[in-house]
Amino acid sequence: MVTASGTAPPVHETLTVSGRHQVTAFAVMVLLLVVAPFFIYPLFLMKALCFALFACAFNLLIGYVGLLSFGHAVFLGSAGYTSAHAAKVWGWPPELAILGGTLTAAALGIVIGALAIRSKGIYFANITLALAQMTYFFFLQAKFTGGEDGIQAVPRGVLLRLFDLRGVMTMYFVVLAIFLAGFLLLYRTIHSPFGQVLKAIREHEPRAISLGYSAERYKLAAFVVSATLSGLAGGTKAIVFQLASLTDVHWTMSGEVVLMTLLGGLGTVFGPVVGAFIVVSLENYLAQLGAWVTVVQGVIFVVCVLTFRRGVVGELARLIRRPL
């Protein structure tokens, strides 16, 4: 996943070539997602979409900047709590509640990012973990989060005073819109001059610095973008499920997003989406089988790391010899 090992997934070499196949893939994805709720339980799809956005945001950091953050759940969860609190206690309409959550995550991203960004590799992971655990503790103790019970019965509200979000389909298409917006934002970030500099930093940081780029500032910016979009996912999720709980800030959630991204394909555009859908489906399907969920997740981790490092989309991309 990171530079010098020479075994990073084979992406981006041909990125400067026309991205038309990516446009096609995008169109297919949108089509599937628009049609899906008529066949598949929309609540499940919305869950998958929120996690897909979270995984895409996480992927920016790990796939394109090469930084493994072990505490990313903090952004998902803190946004969730803020949005839930804003909607339930302050009575904010959903668009403002979600915005509030997103901004909280952004602020947290700036703080944690500033503290962590000077480290690299495993040390970066360590420090994000430490800061995340402290934040978890804060949420555990704070009265407003409701501790183990979480914030429950969060109202869905009326979006922009027009759309009553209690209707399942309305809610779904709003979530889809949010997801696509976030996805496109990430896509633009990756395929922009900013994204190119990030790649340069990932490939060879001293060289990038010698060319005059402030590596730390770029990495921090990417970190904050990643945190913000994770927050967007978290805030939306709190409104959809009308619940914000400690699960979303626990370190095992950070592990789950790693799983999704790894399974889907690190450093690919569509990988995290596919990975999120697979993992959420598995959890849903296996919930009926009780305790096997963690075993299966573990097996997937093991298999992916040993033989399937490029992930589903990564392998697909390799097959068609185009970046996905």
Partner: protein, 295 residues
């Protein structure tokens, strides 16, 4: 009765002693993790699961073979260490050329599998395991009753830690190991079988975890999740001490046990988190940990 911050000194000494005892657990566990990372560059997230397997091995030895605690201290680490060897040979070996974060993900996945399987089989209430009769009872120290078993734990852990440190830092075998990490090709050229040393070292680190598990079995419940929450704390200990520094882990383990013990007196709700606060503080000032070397 004199008091320190409102706590009678007697009680404070008791808490400090308990902190020391807990610290010895942390030290032993982080020792294994540190050996594995220091010498092999693998972040062994399965350490908690292997600790749990050690405790279960002790339970099985008693249930099925009638072999008691003292036998378990010898046999369990060997058995679990062998399992570790198999894990290394079949899976970890393939990741050495890669970024060591892959090793972390693999061992994390293995931990999930092992814990999930044990939980499916044995439930989560835990299985009973008694303190061996030779070590029951306690000694009245005046300010508290010190259970004999806990005194034994401190002593044994300290011995193990010192012995391990000595072997790795002061003997020829240890020197070979350390050289092999720095420059495997060169060491191999000298005729030392490096892959075998690596395998055995991993096995040894795992055995240390299992040994800690046997020590824990009589006082903590033998249950499949006993390592799950512990691993992240032990990981923090190793990080603070300096990833790769054996002495660092040992010292930090004991020190953190004492700090945690004090936190339990003054602000007990935070006792799970104080280690991470320290971890954050240390990492901000010294990213490689207190005694660590940059890799």
């Amino acid at each position: 009765m004199t008091t320190v911050f409102g706590i009678p000194t007697q009680a404070l000494f008791g808490q400090l002693l308990i902190g020391l005892i807990n610290g010895s657990f942390y030290a032993m566990l982080s020792l294994g993790l540190s050996v594995i990372f220091g010498l092999l560059n693998i972040i062994n997230f399965a350490h908690g699961a292997q600790y749990m397997m050690g405790a279960f091995a002790a339970y099985f030895l008693l249930q099925w073979a009638g072999l008691g605690y003292w036998w378990a201290l010898l046999i369990a680490p060997v058995v679990v260490g062998l399992i570790g060897v198999v894990m290394e040979r079949t899976m970890l070996k393939r990741l050495y050329a890669l970024d060591h974060l892959y090793g972390l993900l693999l061992t994390f996945g293995l931990a999930l599998v092992i814990q999930g399987l044990f939980r499916n089989q044995f439930g989560s209430s835990g299985l009973p395991f008694q303190i061996p009769p030779e070590l029951t009872g306690g000694r009245n120290l005046g300010f508290m009753i010190l259970p004999n078993y806990r005194a034994w734990v401190v002593g044994f852990s300290l011995m193990t830690c010192l012995a391990t440190w000595y072997v790795i830092e002061r003997t020829k075998l240890g020197a070979y190991l350390r050289a092999a990490t720095e420059n495997p090709t060169l060491v191999q050229a000298f005729g030392v079988n490096v892959p075998r040393m690596i395998t055995l070292t991993y096995g040894f680190g795992v055995a240390l975890a299992a040994l800690a598990g046997v020590l824990a079995a009589p006082i903590y419940q033998v249950n499949p999740l006993m390592g799950a929450d512990l691993i992240i704390v032990v990981f923090a200990v190793v990080v603070i001490g300096g990833m790769g520094s054996i002495a660092g882990s040992i010292i930090t383990g004991f020190a953190l046990g004492i700090i945690e013990g004090l936190t339990k007196v003054f602000y007990p709700e935070a006792s799970n988190t104080v280690i991470f606060v320290i971890m954050a503080l240390v990492l901000l000032v010294r990213p490689t940990g207190l005694f660590g070397r940059d890799r």
